[in-house]
Each structure stands twice: as C-alpha cells, then as structure tokens.
Amino acid sequence: MKPAYSVIFLTTLIGAGQGLFLALFTQQSYALFGQLPMQEDGFYGYGSVLVLLLLCGGLVASFFHLGHPERAWRTATQWRTSWLSREVIVLPAFMGVVFLYATTHLLGWRPVLITLPSGLEIDLSIALGVAGTLLAFTLFICTAMIYACLRFLREWNSPLTVINYILLGGASGFTLATAFAAVIAPLQANFFGGWAIIITLLAFVGRSASLFRNSRLKPISTIQTAIGIKHPQIVQRSKGAMGGTFNTREFFHGKSEKFMRRIKPGFILFSFMLPLLLLFLGLSSASALLLGGAFIVQYSGLLAERWFFFAEAKHPQNHYYQGKA
C-alpha cells in the first residue's frame, strides 16, 4: 500500500493525544486513592489542552485525506457496519469529553457527584475522566479495526494490530506526559516515566511480534487464483494502461527493497531504543530537555513505524499489476 501522510499524522497524533489523556487520568486515579499527591487543577487542565491540540492536529490531517471534506458529516451515518464511521463518531466525542475535563479543571468547578461508602468523593472531573478513558480505548480500537478488519490485507488482519495501536499510542502519550510533568510538576516525572518505559517495552514486544508474524505470512491469493489459470508460470505482459492508473499509484509504496530493509531497524531504534535510553537518562538526571527529546525522537520513530505499517501491507489486487511490482 502507498502510505498517505494524512493518515500517518492522523493516527500518530491522536494516538499520542489519547495516550497523554490516559496518562493524566492514571495519575489522577492514583491520587484519588491517595497513592500519589493530587496535582493542581492546572496540571490536568493544561495537560488536557495539550491533548486537545494533538487531537485537533490529527483531525485536521485527516481532512487532507478526503476528496470531498465538505461531505465529511456523512461519515457518521454508517456506524452499524463501518469502523471508519465509528472512528468518526468516537473522535469528536472523545474531544468533547477532554474539553469538558479540561474546563472543569481550569475553571476549578468540580462539584462532588457522589460520595462512596468509604468516604471517597467522586467529583465531576473524575466522572469525565472515566468517560474519557473509555472513549480513548474505544477510539484506539476503532482506529486499529479500520485496518485489522480488512481480511485480505493479512499484515493488518490480526489482533496484534489493535494491541499495537493501543501500546504505541500509549507509549508516546506517557513519554509526552513525562516531559510535561518534568516541566510543570517535576515530582511526578518518575511516575509517568516509569509507565512510559514499561509501555514502550511492551510496545516493542508487540511490534516485534507483528513484524515476526508478517515476515512469515504465506500469501493466500496468487496470480493463479487472481486470473483462474492454474499454471505455475504466468507473466504479465500488459497492465491495460500505458501511463499508470489509480491501482498502480495507490497500492505500491514505490520504494526499493533496500529502503524497506533499512527503515525497519530505523523505526525500532527511534520508536523504542533511543526513547528508552533518553527516558532513563532524563529521569536519572531530572532533565526536562532529555525527556522532551525522548518524546520527539519517539514520535518521529512512530511516523516511520506508521509509514512502514502501511507500506508493508500487500494488497491482493497487486497480482493484477505484477508488471509494476
């Protein structure tokens, strides 16, 4: 497949946004149960503003993917069958909840909704945080299922796709939260950094598993099943067009084998290895600069990872254009 930059930015930006929100609310949940000190409203409020900026960036990027963005409202209609439609509904819903969560904190308006028998007070921001957490995970599932549900794109058609979207988004979000905390609330940086390291390690395992799986996939469709001629030797002599078609542009990444071999260790280094190193160094030296660098390095690694994710998928229609491949 040809990776579309709009979709690469959409999925990586909202992934980091969702991860950051989950990080913020994880800290607030710990604080609710007295495991960590509750932070000032500004910490959660401005953190959520950062989440909103990332989500808006992703949303804007997604519009560049559409031929008719003015009709985008129609995409909310087919939620019964289409994961893309579900994503289009969940993303604004999540943004709305994050906006309210940010507002309750920034305005300091957190009325207590219920008091649990143990004396724990559940205020509005906690309720919104729970709703936002559920929506963040739903959004991860919707985004990943857009790809995982396509059964003949076998590189994507696996539960690992969903797991990796959650883990990769979570890793970048928690790394960003670490850098954010290092600036706003330095005492919390270790908490976020610890989780960022754990999730980045898990993401490394998950992504390695999918790379391993995909490298051993045996194609189900062949040129023989594509044209129904059972002969071992079939060569395409004409593609039915001289100057290329939509099919030759959309389904081939157009990069060399060598490039594909090089980008793989490249994104592993930038998405996992270097961020882990920078997180470790940043936390041990309490350097916001190194932690910010960890996020930037990891995000750029994830851009390459997402590019590879799309490019790696081999569409069965390519059998009809093997002359190109």
């Binding site: 559409l66 009709r71 087919q78 044209i227 229609q317």
Partner: protein
C-alpha cells in the same frame, strides 16, 4: 432474486480493447459526468476506467499462450467494499444486485478500494470520488433503446461475443448455462466474496479425423465414377449464385 452479471469467455477474447473504449465512451458521456483523464496526449497518460484488458503470458516459449484478461467490477454477491463505506455512498441494489457508488455522497476516502481484493474501483482524480463499473445501469433499463441495445456497452461492442450479460441467479439464462456447461469460474474464490461475474476458461477445440473417415464408408468397393458432365444448356455456377 436477480443478480445481473457478466460472463467473460477467455477462450474467444482477442484482446482488442473494444470493450474498454466503448465502456469509456458510454460512461464518460452520461449524466454522471465524465470519467476524467489526465495528460491524455502527454507522455504519461492516465485516467479513470471501469474496465481494462490485461495480457498475461502463460508458460514458457515456445509452449506458451497469450491470455487477454478483461476485468471490471465483479458485482460480488457479498461485496466487501460496501459495509466499510462510512457514508453509505457504496451500496448494492437489492433488485438486481448491481454494486454502485452514489457520487453525490462519496467523500473520496478510498477506504473501499482497500477493501476490494480485485482492484475494481478507481478514484477519479478530478471529480475526487470513487468510480466503478455500473453494468451500464443507465442503459440496460432504458425503454427508449431497442431491446437488443439494452445491454452493457462492453457487451454490445465485443466483436467476438466474448462478453455475455444476464441474470446469474436464473438457471435458464444464457450466462448460467455458459457457466454450467463451459466450466465458468470466479476470481479469488478464497475470500468468499462470491463474485457475480464469471470467467470461462481457455478450451482446446480439437477435431480428430480418422483415416477411414476420409473415404466414403458407404462406398466400400470404390465404384464411384466421375459425375456426369453437365449439359451445355444447363445453368452455370455464375447463373445460380451471387458469388
């Protein structure tokens, strides 16, 4: 329930691309707007087509065969491109099974092309919507045309009658008989899309003549003489025949 479909006979397709050009001509001239081309006379021409003929070489020379392979939307009975469409622009008609795109609802997200294993859909780079074969839905029901013309444009154009059109659910239709009797098959059956369009395989037509058939079996004693000479007044060949 009706399921309109094409059957393409690979045994007689000669790869002349008449179906491609007549499809383009009909479908670029309709009320749905043109099938846009870019650079049509330049070095790198490209454009939107519903139907293309590709050519494959099977086997190794000298034991090889050339296969011309026309492919358009197969109008799957279980089309994977339809449920993924976020706007409902992609749909399958209940009454005749044709898979269509509503160009006024399509947002051009291209997700349906990812979901089609056959590469049957093409994005129109100028109209910014997805386009695909309509089985000439604006033609096959047109009462103002003679009944013989109410067929897809490609079917009408094919000089070797390699393209048949009809209802694949009617066991007595021409195409159902062709599929049944000549070994019709579907493309990529492994994905369970149940394409309505079928292909008829290459078939060897051989006539074996035994030596004894070269002689008249009812003339065992070989006593046939030459035919009697015609009378000079009888009409000659030029008088009775136009050729």
């Amino acid at each position: 329930m009706t399921q309109l479909a094409l059957v393409i006979d690979l045994n007689v397709c000669v790869g002349c691309h008449a179906c491609v050009t007549s499809c383009k001509e009909w479908n670029t001239s309709g009320s749905a707007g043109p099938l846009c081309d870019e650079n049509p006379y330049g070095a790198d021409p490209t454009g939107t087509f519903f139907n293309r003929v590709q050519t494959f070489e099977i086997g190794q020379y000298p034991n090889s065969e050339t296969l011309h392979f026309p492919k358009s939307c197969l109008h799957c009975e279980d089309p994977p491109c339809v449920p993924v469409c976020p706007t409902g622009a992609s749909y399958k008609r209940k009454e005749d099974g044709i898979v269509l795109v509503d160009y006024d609802k399509c947002i051009g997200c291209k997700y349906c092309t990812w979901a089609c294993p056959y590469g049957a859909r093409e994005f129109d780079e100028k109209a910014k919507v997805m386009k695909k074969c309509t089985l000439c839905v604006d033609r096959i029901y047109d009462q103002s045309l003679d009944e013989i013309d109410r067929k897809p444009s490609c079917v009408k154009a094919c000089p070797t009658s390699a393209r048949l059109f009809g209802d694949v659910h009617d066991p007595e239709s021409e195409i159902s008989k062709a599929i049944r009797e000549d070994g019709g098959y579907a493309l990529m059956p492994e994905w369970g899309t149940h394409p309505a369009n079928h292909y008829l395989p290459r078939r060897k037509t051989k006539l074996k003549i035994h030596n004894d058939e070269l002689e008249r079996a009812d003339n065992p004693l070989k006593v046939d003489g030459l035919l009697p000479k015609p009378n000079k007044n009888d009409p000659s060949m030029d008088d009775v025949s136009a050729w």
